[in-house]
């Protein structure tokens, strides 16, 4: 066995040499940090290092699970995810269906190029625009005034609007881009089905209902299942840039909380415990969704 391996190594030393840099990088930056999980069970003291710090058992977990933050984080994370699921998932499908009914090719291409564009604007710029447009003397208030409203709201300081802002800016940014996958599914539908439907006397709407939608149903189901799998992993990028102590109540999610407590507050052990709970729950959800996907659609992540 060892002899064979040695022979293999010698014969293929170039191939092994080629993969070596990646293997080392993965060892250092992917595998090695997993030791940090034990941080969650310790009281971390920088002077003693991770291994020298004293054990505290499940103290950090108990602290978090009995803190008022637990409920707030779960509520906000689920709130933003479900909200995104409700508007961010159907809309790209609707867009794809509408685009599919356009016969004028240049118009279709223009719509595609323009609706994909926001996806390429950086997060920082998007949040900069949001901050400026939704300020007290911003464009949104001006539009509301023009329409006869009061227009005196400081949108980003009101907890009740925060999730709406996060979700709808996400829709603005991803609507076109997320429709690509459905456009591809639509391109795969057999044209003869449409001919047959027309001969049977089906109009445009009926064709959509009886031919187009069933044609892209598998894609829709997979995307929804995967969304359920990531229900508790909300991206904290935009939230970090837009929230403030005024809107922590509705904007704080696991990612932002871990960043605030861990990186800014240097409570490494406690925030690692929070992050660990999150990882485990997410992993279970993803595994569950994957299992469901395999049962229902024969497609899965692994």
């Amino acid at each position: 066995m060892w002899h064979k391996l040695k022979l293999d190594m010698r014969r293929n030393y170039q191939a092994y040499l080629m993969i070596l840099p990646s293997v080392l990088l993965i060892a250092v930056f992917a595998y090695f940090p997993t030791y940090g999980i034990i941080l969650a069970f310790k009281k971390f003291k920088p002077a003693l290092g991770v291994f020298g710090s004293p054990w505290v058992g499940l103290k950090h977990f108990r602290d978090f699970l009995s803190s008022p933050y637990l409920w707030r984080l779960v509520r906000n994370t689920l709130g933003i995810s479900l909200y995104t699921l409700a508007v961010g998932y159907p809309l790209p499908i609707v867009l794809a269906l509408l685009l599919n009914e356009v016969n004028c090719l240049p118009f279709k291409k223009t719509v595609q190029t323009i609706t994909y564009m926001p996806y390429f604007i950086s997060t920082v710029v998007i949040c900069g625009m949001v901050k400026s447009f939704l300020g007290y003397d911003g464009v949104l208030n001006e539009i509301i005034k023009a329409l006869g409203g009061a227009g005196n709201v400081s949108w980003l300081s009101e907890p009740k609007y925060f999730q709406t802002i996060i979700v709808w800016t996400g829709v603005w940014q991803g609507l076109g881009w997320n429709s690509i996958i459905y456009m591809a599914a639509l391109a795969g539908i057999d044209q003869q089905l449409y001919e047959a439907a027309k001969i049977d006397g089906a109009g445009r709407l009926r064709q959509i209902w009886y031919v187009t939608l069933p044609g892209i149903a598998p894609t829709i189901i997979i995307i929804i299942i995967m969304a359920i799998g990531s229900l508790l992993s909300v991206s904290s990028d935009k939230i970090l840039l837009l929230y403030s102590p005024l809107t922590y109540e509705t904007g704080d999610v696991v990612g932002t909380y871990v960043y605030r407590k861990g990186i800014k507050g240097a409570e490494y052990s406690y925030s690692e415990a929070v992050s660990l709970i999150d990882t485990v729950v997410n992993f279970l959800l993803l595994t569950g969704a994957n299992w469901l996907s395999r049962k229902l659609t024969d497609t899965s992540l692994w």
Binding site: S122, V125, K131, L175, T299
Partner: protein, 304 residues
């Protein structure tokens, strides 16, 4: 998708349907364009006009380019651009090189450790220590506030490696065998035989890598402490989000002065000019690279 219009007459229902459809899509395009349009219009208008209208100008008014003069004379923005190019070049380059090299090994036949290496790679997609241990690791390695902190830890990419490996597996074995018989080494086969046949996939990986670096702001925020090393997005974050007025005003490098009574509107103008300057490059490049970006989505969707 094209549908041959074999019909001569359209029913009333179909005409209505088409009209509504075109109308909805046109409105959607306007919604996508409006914020950018407003930013451009305000950025070239006078601060007084912007203040009176609270930024909602339909056409540019009192056109002048003072805001752009400030932006272009801001040394922080220039170093930001230069830094982003540095991170983009070395980060994407290192990652791409490692992706090609490891994908080659993982696609090579008759390699005893291939299966083990494959597992070693894929496990990392699902297991990780999270932000805090990574942060402590960077600290312990002495990478904190080093330029390489945005390059070396991102010098590999498992998902792209798998994509590239799938691509290599799709290239007929005969080519490799012929090269081997001619005495070509593994390196020669990779760079002379396989890579010239992998243009599209390479473009996808390089473009997405570059976009990732262009947008990066969180990692620089926690790992870099000196402004001289900040990429462009970090400078923008200070200007747009933290509203750092000193940085906004070109760090004292400009002779342009705004009337104090319109100061807040002038700040908005400068912010918008910054947005335009930092967004236009990517929006100009994107339509030409669109097909590769879309290809990337299709490759990415294979997993889900």
């Amino acid at each position: 998708m094209k549908r041959k219009s074999t019909k001569i007459r359209l029913t009333t229902g179909e005409v209505v349907f088409s009209c509504v459809n075109y109308l909805v899509l046109t409105i959607l395009m306007l919604i996508c364009l409006y914020p950018l349009y407003q930013v451009v219009v305000d950025s070239i208008s006078g601060p007084g006009a912007v203040m009176r209208s609270n930024g909602m100008l339909i056409w540019p008014k009192d056109v002048h380019l003072d805001a752009y003069k400030i932006v272009f004379s801001n040394p922080n923005l220039r170093t930001g651009f230069a830094n982003t190019l540095f991170y983009m070049f070395f980060g994407t380059g290192l990652q791409f090189l490692n992706v090609c090299l490891s994908a080659y090994t993982l696609s090579k036949k008759n390699l005893m450790l291939k299966k083990g290496l494959m597992i070693y790679f894929t496990v990392t997609m699902y297991v990780g220590g999270g932000l805090i241990p990574f942060f402590l690791l960077i600290n312990n390695l002495g990478l904190m506030n080093s330029r390489w902190v945005l390059v070396i830890p991102y010098g590999y990419n498992v998902w792209n490696t798998i994509v590239m490996r799938t691509n290599f597996n799709g290239i007929p074995d005969g080519l490799r065998e012929a090269a081997t018989i001619d005495g070509a080494s593994d390196f020669t086969i990779l760079f002379r035989v396989l890579m010239p046949l992998s243009g599209a996939v390479s473009a996808v990986i390089l473009l997405w890598g570059a976009v990732g670096y262009w947008n990066m702001w969180f990692e620089p925020m926690i790992y870099l402490t000196e402004r001289s090393k900040y990429p462009i997005q970090s400078i923008l974050r200070e200007i747009l989000i933290d509203a750092n007025e000193q940085l906004m005003a070109g760090a004292g490098q400009t002779t342009v002065k705004f009337d104090p009574s319109t100061r807040s509107a002038a700040n908005t103008l400068v912010k918008y000019a910054n947005i335009v300057v930092c967004t236009v490059p990517i929006l100009v490049v994107y339509p030409f690279a669109q097909k590769y970006f879309i290809k990337g989505v299709m490759i990415g969707s294979l997993k889900g």
